[in-house]
């Protein structure tokens, strides 16, 4: 897997898909069972200190030192990063409306998340690795965080890898989306291409007792579309989800209706899906 250089890369997948593990491996917090990794040209060796000097990391788990004040916690996070980073982090935190003189124990979950984010965004590094940076944030704060990330990538030329299990939450900031499931990469594409496909999804519901292999073969024979999934729905229908090659569904639909190899569909459904829906539709993975 090659991520970057530059831009915001969204690492997506349901809980347990391996997003956090991958990010932790990249910064040396978890040792890989096999294989190698490098960040910004630095090979992962030892405990990954060399990589953590070149990249910032914001963990997904939010356990902070509650007895510290927010500004002291920023200093603690940024030990070894220089005074400029601390000043910049304070600026970001203030921009996000965090009370820097308050103790962390008085912070809500979302405020803690923003504090960690401010610390990860401040240092002058080329790579930022952020585990669920928008988790627990309200929509306005989420938007602010994503805008800051996009601006950072655009203006400072950084590579930002962020994870999320909510595609709809982060797609606006991402230049690239990488989907993980069961520890494997199942897709890697741009939001634009995914969005284009989302506008060309056709669902055909066949009777539940239809022959699956016959339907698969017939749809393949028709051409003009690729079969993404074939599954039994809750109401017992055998649903084929197809991504059409063109924006106009009518030619394919007409061919499908005329085909003698296909049973007559019980229902048609065509239209633009949300990114979260297409994720489910195309990859069959819940949680995004």
């Amino acid at each position: 897997m090659d991520l970057g250089p530059r831009g915001v890369i969204g690492l997506l997948g349901p809980n347990g898909s391996g997003k956090s593990t991958l990010l932790r491996i990249l910064v040396g917090l978890v040792r890989p069972d096999a294989g190698t990794a490098s960040v910004d040209g630095t090979l992962l060796e030892g405990d990954g200190t060399a990589i953590r000097r070149r990249a910032t990391y914001a963990p997904g788990e939010l356990a902070l030192y509650k007895e510290l004040r927010a500004d002291a916690h920023l200093e603690w996070f940024l030990r070894g990063r220089g005074r400029e980073s601390i000043a910049r982090a304070r600026g970001i935190a203030e921009q996000l409306g965090l009370p820097l003189k308050a103790r962390v124990r008085t912070f809500s979950h979302g405020m803690k998340r923003q504090l960690v984010f401010a610390a990860a965004l401040a240092p002058d590094v080329r790579v930022r690795i952020l585990d669920e940076p928008t988790e627990g944030l309200d929509p306005s704060k989420r938007g602010a965080v994503l805008d800051l990330l996009a601006a950072d990538a655009r203006e400072r030329g950084t590579t930002i890898v962020l994870s999320s299990h909510h595609l709809g939450e982060v797609d606006r900031a991402c230049d690239r989306l990488v989907f993980l499931s069961g520890g494997k990469k199942i897709a890697d594409e741009t939001p634009a291409s995914l969005s284009a496909r989302a506008g060309r999804v056709l669902r055909l519901d066949f009777p539940g007792d239809s022959d699956r292999s016959r339907i698969e073969a017939a749809l393949h024979k028709l051409g003009g579309a690729s079969l993404a999934r074939l599954e039994v729905t809750a109401d017992g229908a055998l649903r084929a989800s197809l991504v059409l090659d063109t924006d106009d569904p009518r030619p394919f639909t007409a061919k499908a209706l005329a085909s003698a190899d296909l049973p007559r569909p019980r229902a048609f459904e065509y239209g633009r899906l949300s990114l979260a829906e297409i994720y489910r539709e195309l990859y069959g993975v819940e949680g995004c």
Binding site: R24, V27, L29, V30, R31, G46, D47, T49, R52, R53, Y57, A58, P59, E61, A63, L64, Y65, L68, A72, E75, W76, F77, L78, R79, G80, R81, V116
Partner: protein
Amino acid sequence: MVREYRFQLYGMLAYFVVLEILLAAAILFWPDFEGNLDALRSMAPLEALKGIVDQIGEAGVSAYVNGQHFFKGCNTVGMLAAVIFAMGAVAGEAQRGTLEIWLARPLSRRRILLERFVAGAIAVTLPVFVSSATVPWLLDRVHEEMEFRDLMLGSLHQSIFLIAIYGITFFFSCVSSRPVVIAFVMLMFTIFEFALYMIQDVTHISIFRLADIDVFANIGATHGLDLRIVIPMLAVIAMTLWGSLAAFARRVP
């Protein structure tokens, strides 16, 4: 960095105050103690305690100070401090869930661990030296005196003993996520060892023999450390530190 070690700093101050109060009270009580040695000997319930009273009767105030300050004060309060400072060093972070952010900074694990080990070791040993340094002044209140150099050598020996205990606890902290369990294990171990010390037939196998009145009396007599005791204790410290570094290097947050 001071904020990071606030617990050790405040803990060290509290530990010093307790140690100093015990020391001051003991030294100011010395004239009464000296005048009632025979009665105290007859009241001692165990042979081991009678032996200690005899030693004080023969050697005078230096044995009394060694017994009260090093054997009683430092061995009890110091061991408690050693366990408290070490038990949460890594296990506490794991239990609180802060291990990940602790390790996420651009600092090597070796450095992070050594910093914490040294901070705790200083917190365990500095009060021993500082309180020992006040002994001449306190003894002056009761018109007695003791060699400052012997007190510092005694403090050094005591500190090595306490760091060995600290190192063992620290190692447990590196491999565990439950500081309370570590504290309980160390408490049971200490009670067991002290019980051994009090039984004449097996007293020689107790770890408290490594830091009892005999040892400090020997330091006073030779004006030097007993390397037969110090070197094995240093070896224990080195092994526990090495073990801690190895365990911490593999630790997953």
